[in-house]
Symmetry: C2
Subunit: 336 residues, 2 copies
């Protein structure tokens, strides 16, 4: 006498074949390339699939065909994430083509990257979407050697691993510097999270400022993830340490909001005494008081472009360009 759990064995392709009175090979064809199968045969197979409730086993299918229909997306984190729109757009597009997305969290430190890469490769993904780049040469080679399409996003590396869909953090720093310069600011401060990409923005900013005649840039480096409280405290310490600034480029909108809050608490007027520019153009950017000028990246555009590259390549369609620059915009609101 059995209780509860029935054997839970799922019907297999072979069972469907038997029911439809064809060979397993024909069922496989009917499911994957229906054009190759006679109409009447197809009908019988569809009916058998329906009757049995058959769901193909993609582990077996992937193993046999060497095509996993899987794309890995590697992001540092998700909470408070600026990656949502990219991931969402990409996932939607890939799901439409019957691909699936494996979500991988890498953290902001690189130390676990080797294990993470291996765990990704173990699934034999057809594509790997990276946030930023991978600098370790061995890891880069390991990624490429799999034959998967590798796409670096949200960056613009000197030496791409394979494909790139991103923008130049360096240029963003320069553009922000230009805005402050146009506002007549001469004492810039950069509040920057401790990340490769924030550092690129810092460098772009500093170099542009130098070109514009401002050689002195104050910098506050903060641990990741950058928060409201942190931004606030950072400005407090800076000012109490005797620092002077009339403009601030922040690593995130949370930081920027913290900086603004602290500044106003101390009687500074934003933007008159202190102009502030954030990064990310978050939901709340127009809800702060004053509203926040911020750098906007089109995440959906990145996600879509990456998905298209993968699908085109999988379908053998004419290759996309290796590098796609989606650019950025700076949304001017009140704070600068």
């Amino acid at each position: 006498v059995q209780s509860k759990k029935p054997p839970a064995r799922r019907p297999t392709l072979t069972e469907v074949a038997r029911l439809a009175r064809v060979s397993p090979a024909t069922v496989s064809r009917a499911l994957n390339t229906p054009g190759l199968v006679a109409e009447e045969t197809n009908r019988r197979i569809v009916e058998a699939v329906r009757k049995t409730g058959y769901v193909p086993n993609l582990l077996a299918g992937g193993l046999a065909s060497n095509r996993s229909r899987l794309v890995a997306v590697v992001v540092p984190a998700l909470a408070r994430s600026i990656f949502n729109e990219m991931i969402e757009a990409m996932t939607e597009e890939l799901m439409r083509a019957r691909y699936q997305v494996m979500l991988v969290l890498s953290g902001y430190q690189d130390e676990h990257l080797p294990e993470i890469v291996d765990s990704v490769l173990a699934r034999r993904p057809e594509g790997v979407i990276l946030t930023g780049t991978v600098s370790d040469r061995k890891l880069r080679e390991r990624l490429v050697s799999t034959g998967a399409t590798i796409i670096e996003t949200r960056t613009m590396p000197q030496e791409p691993i394979d494909y790139v869909v991103g923008f130049s953090h360096h240029d963003i720093g320069a553009a922000v510097a230009q805005i402050f310069h146009d506002l007549g600011r001469r004492a810039p401060l950069v509040v920057s999270p401790e990340s490769v990409r924030a550092t690129e923005r810092l460098n772009g900013f500093t170099q542009a400022m130098a070109r514009l005649g401002v050689r002195r840039v104050s910098t506050l480096t903060l641990p990741i993830p950058a928060s409201f409280g942190q931004g606030r405290q950072a400005l407090a310490e800076f000012l109490e340490g005797g620092g002077r600034a009339d403009c601030v480029m922040c690593g995130s909108d949370w930081q920027a909001h913290g900086v603004i809050t602290e500044a106003r608490e101390r009687g500074l007027k934003v933007p008159d005494d202190l102009a502030v520019i954030g990064f990310g153009n978050m939901d709340f950017a127009d809800a702060t008081e004053p509203s926040l000028t911020s750098v906007h990246i089109d995440g959906r555009k990145i996600g879509l472009a990456a998905a298209r590259i993968l699908l085109d390549r999988a379908a053998g369609r004419p290759q996309a360009p290796k590098v796609t620059d989606v650019g950025f915009t700076i949304v001017r609101r009140t704070s600068a």
Copy 2:
């Protein structure tokens, strides 16, 4: 003469075995249950793995062992998402146990659910995490029949499919009603997205209000996803249509912020003329003017609890309770 792409064949377990002078079976054991293998043998195998750069093929492994080490997470959407923290906590915990997370976007309509469920089951996941519930009986059975652990989250269904980690939307509606009542409000408005769960909150609210002696509740139903602009326009139309209200329960913080903005634009004082409570306790809830009272859900707690259930079950450890209620809190700020 070959060019570019080297054969890209990855080393197999058999090659590792040959190099280590053992059988494939022993390599498999060394990798999965090292305790069963002699130390010296193990050493040789580890060395061979290193030398070859071997990465196990989980498609093959999963097929052979009938354990995919895959968990599917199904959420309606990611952009502006309230699910981030849940997903992040769950993914972290599962990755630690060498499980991987497949991200599935379902949209807010149920029409594509059957295909989505099939695409999920095709990967033979060991667990399926759902946002909300699945009402279609056939789909429920299909899910269960796979033997995977099914976990419904962010809900508290009458008849759970399997496990539940969530909270009661109905109770939230009631709690919000109580707050408005304590503030002496008698003309409530509910701005509610067109979703099952928002409707539960609406019902809880309406019933509690009735118990508290307020029988008339105005309702504005909005399409999903609920946005700032929508909330704003909704209030505008409501007031211009002659509607009266002294308090509003909103379906999201974005809506709430829109409602507040519109109210102030029209000279209404928040909270004096109009008390407002949002849902989600988003980042910007304390950045609005006035700051926003909102319902807070501990997403990380949900994600962790779900991951634990899966891992405990996979390890055959004593079963977790079928239903976990993580509750909710209402964060009082200025708007109510």
